[in-house]
Every structure is written in C-alpha cells, then in structure tokens.
Amino acid sequence: SAVISQKPSRDICQRGTSLTIQCQVDSQVTMMFWYRQQPGQSLTLIATANQGSEATYESGFVIDKFPISRPNLTFSTLTVSNMSPEDSSIYLCSVGALAGTYNEQFFGPGTRLTVL
C-alpha cells in the first residue's frame, strides 16, 4: 500500500485568498486524484493530476479555480483560488496503482479547509 501525506492538515482562510494543498506519496504512482468532500456529503472528484501534462477536470470544476500541479510521480498540489465560504470542505488526494488486474486506490488524511 502507498503512504500518503497532505499539508496542511487544516486551515482557516479569509475569503478572496488562495490556499495550496500538498500531497506527497512514499512511492512513484501513475495516477493521482483530487477529491472534495463538502460537509455531510460524499466525495466528489475534482480532477486527475497527470504527470507532465495538464490535469483532467471533472464537470463543474475548472483550472482557474483549482489549478493543479504534478511535477513528478510522487507529488502533487491543488490550489483553491479566490476562496469563498462555499469552498469550505475536506480536500483529499488519492493515488491509484494497478495491483494485479485491478485498481487499488489509497487516500491521504485530507485537508480540512474553512473559509470565513
């Protein structure tokens, strides 16, 4: 299994500012994903972080609001830009790796963001 760390673990931010969340994995992985979990809700996929190319965003999420970097196979960042209270959520990164014939995915501990 992969060990995933995220920084910061939590933050309280003012509206209009931006926050960059880091995701570090202890091994090289092909696929990295960013999810958002709004209060009391399930996880929603924001984007797939592709190494060496632009991230692939899901419907309803755009690069200007959630720019993502993936400089190498063990690290990715997600920035939440021009924040509003509606961005208050837990943001989780996950990594996917083939284990035999199926896909295993492991999740980081999450970053709890509160926007005032």
Binding site: M31, F33, S42, L45, I90, T101, N103, G110
Partner: protein
C-alpha cells in the same frame, strides 16, 4: 455517467447486532470498492470486488458483488463501537487505475 446509490443513508444499530449496507450502480461495474471513513478523517480501504458473484471477508465485515456486477452489499456481523463511521462504496468503470466515483455514503452509529 456512473451513478451509485447507497442505502440506507444512516443507520443506528444496537451493539452486537448485524447490519447490511447496499450499493447499486446504474451501470455494470469494472470494480466496486468499499471504504470506511471515521468522522472528519481520511478513507480506509476495506475491500475491492471485481468478479460477478465475488465475496470477500475481513474480520467481521463481508462484501458481496452480484452476478450482474451492478449491486453490492456490505454486511457487518456482531457490530461493535469500532464499526461506527461512514461507509462509502465507490466504483470504476474502466481498468488501468482509473478514477473512482463514490456513492452518497452510509452513516453508521452503534448504540451501546
């Protein structure tokens, strides 16, 4: 697009009792995942089912995937306080480490 429905949305069970959580897909699945989330924390991988009719167990938790690969159930036997949390089913349509789409989750509370 893939949609997953979980039922029930929440469940309160007396300690020691059995319980079942269901997950239904609108499409045939390539893989079905079960995760557990402690309140406000990250996700813990429980099990992954890939073959129709497959069943896996870990300690007191058993997960099954139906033959058509569109429905899964998670069964907990003799529930304990440590089982409390949010259970999420997730599915991927394709192979090769693709993204997972999650169900709405089931919030499980265990009453002493």
């Amino acid at each position: 697009s893939q949609e997953l429905e979980q039922s029930p949305q929440s469940l309160i069970v007396q300690e020691g009792k059995n319980l079942t959580i269901n997950c239904t897909s609108s499409k045939t699945l390539y893989g079905l995942y079960w995760y557990k989330q402690k309140y406000g924390e990250g996700l813990i991988f429980l099990m992954m089912l890939q073959k129709g009719g497959e069943e896996k167990s870990h300690e007191k938790i058993t997960a099954k995937l139906d033959e058509k690969k569109q429905q899964s159930s998670l069964h907990i036997t003799a529930s304990q306080p440590s089982h409390a949390g949010i259970y999420l089913c997730g599915a991927d349509e394709y192979s090769s480490a693709s993204k997972i789409i999650f169900g709405s989750g089931t919030r499980l509370s265990i009453r002493p």
